[in-house]
Symmetry: D2
Subunit: 397 residues, 4 copies
């Protein structure tokens, strides 16, 4: 099957296989957004007089058909088609003949891909924002469940001072609050519409870029056509936001892996949230926490892929950018998965006030004693030294 | 010399050397901010009735003395003191006796360090914001200098279509605009005051946290005391913002390394901006661009250090966080250096309209020809195929 | 469908979906190696007297059946089965009843996975070694094709001195030679057999570990059972070796992207190795080089994923290790793809002696002139300064 | 002060500051190796007839003087000199006049730096190899101290099965064994001598490259002159080896941070190996383990810096390579520091057999019970299910 740019002769099969890569699979995620972008482009072409009303309706109808087929799982991209853009144009041409060929007027795959990727990013970031709030609520109800409970606070992985359990829970809520700031910043970078910038040098057709941007829900047009092809920054911002969300989840998971150890027992999980071992009948494992922790590394590495891929490339489209899509989608979807599972699991965490109390050994109250001495007028550093060398000795065996 | 936490006995020398690391050097950057934070803490202690007016004045005077000494290059941190916090307390105690010991009442090195690091971060991010704007202006005046000039736009590292030189310049301006959004988001994460959270479990002294936050210019108090010790997120956001700025500069440098090659000659630099070779008398090298490009990798790796260091650590202070300071400061200061040098160099870039014109070969106007056919009613894809297989053939040797 | 470790009740569906992740897809790559590992384990069980000859034959027959089905594309792993280990055991039990259940005697999924992953790694590294040599030969024949040709050598991205084209080609051959050293080191780390270490604490069945290691072609048994579960090091070594190979290819691709630019024209590619643009009929792009360059970043980031995933985890199996498989396989297979395509493309590169000659401007011979002065007794630094300030001036416009 | 390549005019001060960067500091580490390399070069120049015996002796004497001054802390590199190469040449010229200028005949800073960096790398890798063996011995004596002790083995961070403490210790010994394989591979990449390759295009003076390589203890000459400037691969291999060593130490530290928690108490440290808190008199912290863990992230990020810096750069020297030195040295020296401190600390670890015994709860022996059933002829999977649903229930609260 012919590519959009092909005349005669074909690509060497090894080259074709390598350049297509996994695009025909990855692009199944991009497809719905490319349909939206293409529909907006059709409306611009009509407004520009390139298409008449009837042509425009026929093309929009064709795009809707593809959307229906895709939702029903009946649309696929062949390896030969290479990407969703060719697959869409092939479908339209197959159905509408010459008219199908007109859909690409005034645009390039460059602005087409950039637009679809930004729509996908905005969609996923919005979902992530919502999922963060759902998790914050789940944590808030855990904090209420643990109202009044005290556990040891740790520094240097050693018991330090008494810690209110709700304060521990709400530290993660505060962390998610900061994550939301970064999600919003990422959203704002993806909220500039690249459609109409064509290959990066503007379109020879006079397209109303405000029209397509508005149609697609972008906050504004990205005026600089070349900057639309400085790919990687908006992607990096989105992946970084996901990476910080994942880091928050990873820290919560790390805490919970420790606190659900038998040596602590501060929290436990009902058995439908734990797994066993194929060899050891005694095991009850909190795999979710391990995978959430592990996925924080995976998401971080996908962010790194994006930052490294786009570093040190000249202005204008470079084919390297094709490789941005996969790590971006994986960073977004992995984080969404981690958010979802943590909300479910946090809802079902069972705190054990008894175990926490047992762990609050006498030594964690010594700082308080220092301050009783301070209240009697002893300089802090002296009170500290006194208590440290005298009283506290017995705790240090 | 004794550490703040030492009673009797000392650390094993190998352990002491390893745990101090480069802190006594790195902390020279932290010192001015620790002085500010300590002054605010003294005011809180006075408001809380722990210090009287005279004591407070004496301590503030001592802090100002250290500041003067530091500015004059006459204050240093010894290896034995380990960090700026001990050095400050030692100075105050040496000068004011027991009163000096009182300064640490109600706080921990944990909130002390976190506060100083955030003050440093805010300061540097503000400088970066300003430096970005200075560079944007330098680019804007380059765009004006190049008004009306055309060079080939490149895709896939091959000549593609005609590109207005000011559009090329302003693509970098737009990139810096997006960077500023990330700088601001980073600023907002560092704008929550951790002072008064002590070791992460609150202070036994009733400190007015609004007072110290206001005194230090923070937008708000970080209410959750434990979250003040979820270190790494604010640092990562700042380093990420620096990394995206550095990536913008790196792309500009990559373009300019290409465009100043003799094979292009689109731009040149006066000789006070270029270097030579110790062996080849003919060389005139644009080292600045190479180092700006290279430093974009360095800053990226420092951001990665921060993200990796803080991943997968339990709640509460972990000593690993000590290692965050160096990559953070390096990410900030390296980026500031790159911004500064690029502003100077961009101001002095000399565009060669002649060389650009020569590079605008006939082939880059073929897309325009396609669209002339489109204007005559030919579907785009057909016009494209016609021109590609016929006319354009001669350009492909 | 039941997991190997399940009794009653099931996993919460969100947890199940999250913990399975993409394992049922990724494990299709692992399956053939797990079949080998399982066959070796069956032989050990027979040697240990746990299975009799007939049982052993029946099980080996079952494993061969699965292998045949898999090669014919008729074996799949269901989402419920989660991984290839369960799928294999299910198949054997479905066919052989209670006997199928016996196959897991004396082992754990932990040593089973570790064994299969090492077999896969060794296989792919061996293929990479071969592919490196094939590429070295392709480069060698390019060097011969370019015998006697001279092009400018570049430093600081500026013409420096004359460079023999075969020397340029063979620099990449030498780079691949170093890569092979790292491939071999990686191979040696994966060449220790973990089978028989069970969950990391040894097997209660007296298994002859030498037997299974020999059967599977491992150089030796990994004696320390717990170390068999220090996962990530052998994977990191393999990914690092792939990353250095990819970096060599990336540098070659970077050179060729430059040298195939119209501004250089030192090399060109026949059209079956280049692609076009969907909008610009004039384009002839060397996408392969861009993707090889981009994939060097992808492979690097997959190596980083492995190193970050396994950092900072306690001894013994952690579920995070499940996430090692995908980046490992991707690092290996992406590099193999890049090696293959570069061998094909290098074979077909066309050097242009004419263009290279034109680029050898007079200035690149100045160092030689210096040395003529040196030969007449002038100290080098003086000759350099003389020529630089006098003669060379004209080249610096 | 003049640079080696300077004629008239000077660099713009902002450009000078930026391009010098921290080189004048970093190069203090490089200096001793540059002295070695320069001495070898002098011998080659003499063999080539460029220098006579007297000149050669004078220059070698000068180099030895610098070496003595450096060891006594009396040699420094000024900011204006920029690097150790200029500082050395300045010293020689100051002392020997015109003869000093002759030392640079036939070489470039490019081969000079590459040689010095490889000598430094080989030296540090050799030290690392020795330090690894010292740590292995320390672990071996810990294993002997713990002979016969049993602690719970953990999987999924949950108690799994009984684990011999010496097996736990020796898992880390085995990990260091694999690290040594990678240290050796790294060593072999740095063992090819670049001296004599000049700027990458060979030297116009007929230098006996075997002579200098032998003089400096390199295993062989790097024949391909251009490949000598494919910088970054040998550095990456060294940093990767350090990174895997650091990962081994990090895992040991992670284990020990857990096992020294009061909740475990399996090991403890004498107080000269622990630190306290400035606020909490009760604290006894194992900061060394936290910093070793943290430094595994730092070393990893320095490895990433090297790999990212050198990715995607064209053949021939690029100034970006200047930035390789700092992360390389830091990766090497940080790892050496971690090795040294861990050897000391491991020597002093005190295992508590009592605490370990108490932690060996009944449930970790259930797998053994399964196998007793297997020995009576029950298929493994059935025995597992029986024990899991019956007997084991009580352990799961």
């Amino acid at each position: 099957m012919k590519k959009l740019w092909q005349t005669n002769g074909g690509l060497h099969p090894t080259v074709e296989k390598y350049t297509v890569g996994r695009d025909y699979i990855v692009d199944m995620h991009i497809l719905p957004y490319d349909l939206q972008g293409t529909a907006a482009h059709v409306k611009c072409l009509k407004a520009a007089g390139v298409l008449d009303e009837k042509e425009s309706q026929a093309l929009l109808g064709g795009l809707e058909e593809i959307s229906r087929l895709h939702k029903a799982g009946e649309f696929s991209i062949s390896v030969e088609e290479e990407d969703c853009h060719t697959a869409i144009e092939n479908y339209l041409t197959g159905k509408l003949g010459d008219l199908g060929k007109k859909v690409h007027t005034g645009r390039s795959r460059n602005d087409q891909v950039a637009t679809a990727v930004r729509l996908l990013t905005k969609d996923r970031l919005a979902k992530a924002g919502t999922a963060v709030k759902v998790l914050q609520e789940a944590l808030e109800s855990l904090a209420k469940k643990a109202d009044g409970m005290i556990m040891p606070g740790y520094t240097h992985a050693q018991r330090a001072m008494p810690l209110s359990v709700p304060v521990w829970v709400r530290a993660h809520v505060a962390s998610l609050r900061d994550d939301l700031t970064l999600v919003e910043a990422a959203m704002s970078l993806s909220d500039h519409c690249p459609l109409g910038s064509a290959a990066g040098f503007g379109s020879p057709v006079a397209l109303d870029r405000e029209l397509s941007a508005g149609e697609l829900g972008f906050a504004m047009v990205e005026e600089n056509t070349l900057y639309c092809q400085h790919r990687g920054k908006a992607e990096a911002a989105a992946a970084f936001a996901m990476s910080t969300v994942s880091a928050t989840l990873g820290k919560l998971a790390t805490d919970l892996l420790l606190f659900t150890m038998r040596e602590f027992g501060f929290f436990s999980l009902p058995s439908e949230f734990t797994t066993g071992s194929s060899m050891m009948p005694n095991k009850k494992n909190c795999d979710v926490f391990e995978l959430v922790r592990g996925n924080s590394a995976v998401v971080l590495s996908r962010q790194q892929a994006i930052q490294e891929l786009s570093r040190n490339l000249m202005s204008g489209y470079n084919r390297d950018y094709q490789l941005l899509k996969e790590p971006l989608i994986e960073a977004l979807d992995t984080t969404l998965g981690s958010l979802e599972v943590m909300a479910v699991v946090v809802e079902n965490l069972v705190p054990s006030e008894q175990k926490m109390k047992e762990a609050c050994s006498e030594d964690i109250y010594l700082t308080e004693e220092c301050y009783k001495a301070v209240a009697r007028g002893v300089p802090f550093r002296e009170a500290y030294m006194m208590i440290k060398s005298g009283r506290s000795r017995k705790f240090w065996r």
